[in-house]
Subunit: 145 residues, 4 copies
């Protein structure tokens, strides 16, 4: 079997575009799992001052993509076919934590679930639950330098 | 029956936080419908240079929320219970357009569908399809000035 | 390009197992679209006497599968990767009608939306809305006789 | 606080209509959790001879409804707002097992996740994963005798 994607691959992807600009941080990657964190900023919240649902979804999506990609052979990347998110409580902490795990890999399709927690100094609580369906895509040669 | 929320209400909400910072623009609001636009920026894209799925979801979510809120009595706002998005094609244009319509209002729950198009100078094409379930929440007095 | 699956293919599949036993009827199939009907029976309802949500989902799923399969080359069949259903109103008529349309075919993946209506002598009304993601599977040789 | 719904309530509901006819069996109910089982029959399968996706969804939906209803005050019942199911592997055993747990109760809305396993004499394996959003409805007086 070919080698799996190394964590550095996820780091390179995460540094780009929206995820880099918003400050998504990769906390840990183990095969089939990924944990990401995001610190609250005024340009990431909605009207009530909580993290915006789209930002929560972006973090969950990124975590799911990294978890699935960690289980793919080198040179392949998981892209999102569809994503479903339930918002369970106000995301009112000063940090979001997204923990993604592969539920099933089957051929070129991978499904992951993600729990997103809102965290402050005293506690963390589940604020969103996500299921994402990904498919494996060949990464263009030289795409990551 | 009480009066419905005016478009200025959506404008006030849209100007705040993430949606304001990312540059979400309200194109039109009619009762039960909302169209939003977002111009491509390097801090809104993913690894391949297309709009990030989380940003697409944020735009769809915002459009759904405005469509549902437009059908609620003044002082109430639609907040997202859950959202589901299928990504259908690369969001590679220089602008996103999200068109949301209420599918059903039932008591305090509203369901909307949203089509998201990637647009460039020559064409627009469907890049994502979204269904969102919202519930009506009382807005705190004085929340909008 | 190879020929598409003929409507007789869907008829053969529909006659089997649960869909045959429950009485699913194919009303029309055109490329990319399918309409199915189901007459109310006491063994298809839930506690309140309305069609059971699982039965509604089965009908929507079958309609989506036939719509997607109608757009696939002969010998391939669309199987469900995931399905999402919003229940919008009580399914209290004496017949269900499910109308499915392909939203997008992309490689081996197809996405369809389905509107399900509850119908009685006087009217029909939207009772459920569904989005289904399908993938193309090779049908074993001789599977349909 | 008022008393919660007793397991006998779920049994009464389960005996009716589709779930009674199909042979859904309640294995265990504890507060916030429900396990249901369903034995394979030729009128519950799809073309390939595996449990039909709609039947799998019905079992998951019923398990989610019982789990959520177990956490509601007496006289209230959880009805499905929306349901999302990923089909992960062929449901080819001689029995399905659905295990539902409440993820979050919040006002009149409850969210549950459900794992569905296909089981035969040797093993059980995850064949579907479901998230369901329910809302609490007042049960008509005398509805359960």
């Amino acid at each position: 079997m070919s080698e799996l994607n190394p964590p550095s691959f996820a780091e390179a992807i995460n540094a780009k575009g929206f995820t880099g600009a918003a400050g998504f941080r990769i906390v840990t990657i183990t095969p089939g799992h990924a944990e990401l964190a995001l610190t609250r900023r005024d340009d990431l919240v909605q009207f009530f001052g909580h993290f915006h649902g789209g930002v929560i979804t972006a973090l969950a999506d990124q975590a799911a993509g990294i978890a699935v990609t960690s289980g793919l052979p080198q040179g392949k990347i998981g892209v999102t076919v569809e994503i479903k998110v339930n918002f369970l409580a106000p995301a009112d902490g000063n940090e979001l934590i997204a923990r993604a795990s592969i539920l099933k890999m089957s051929g070129s399709i991978g499904v992951a679930t993600v729990e997103v927690f809102a965290r402050d100094d005293r506690s963390e609580r589940l604020c969103a639950f996500c299921t994402a369906t990904m498919r494996a895509l060949d990464l263009p040669a030289g795409a990551i330098r």
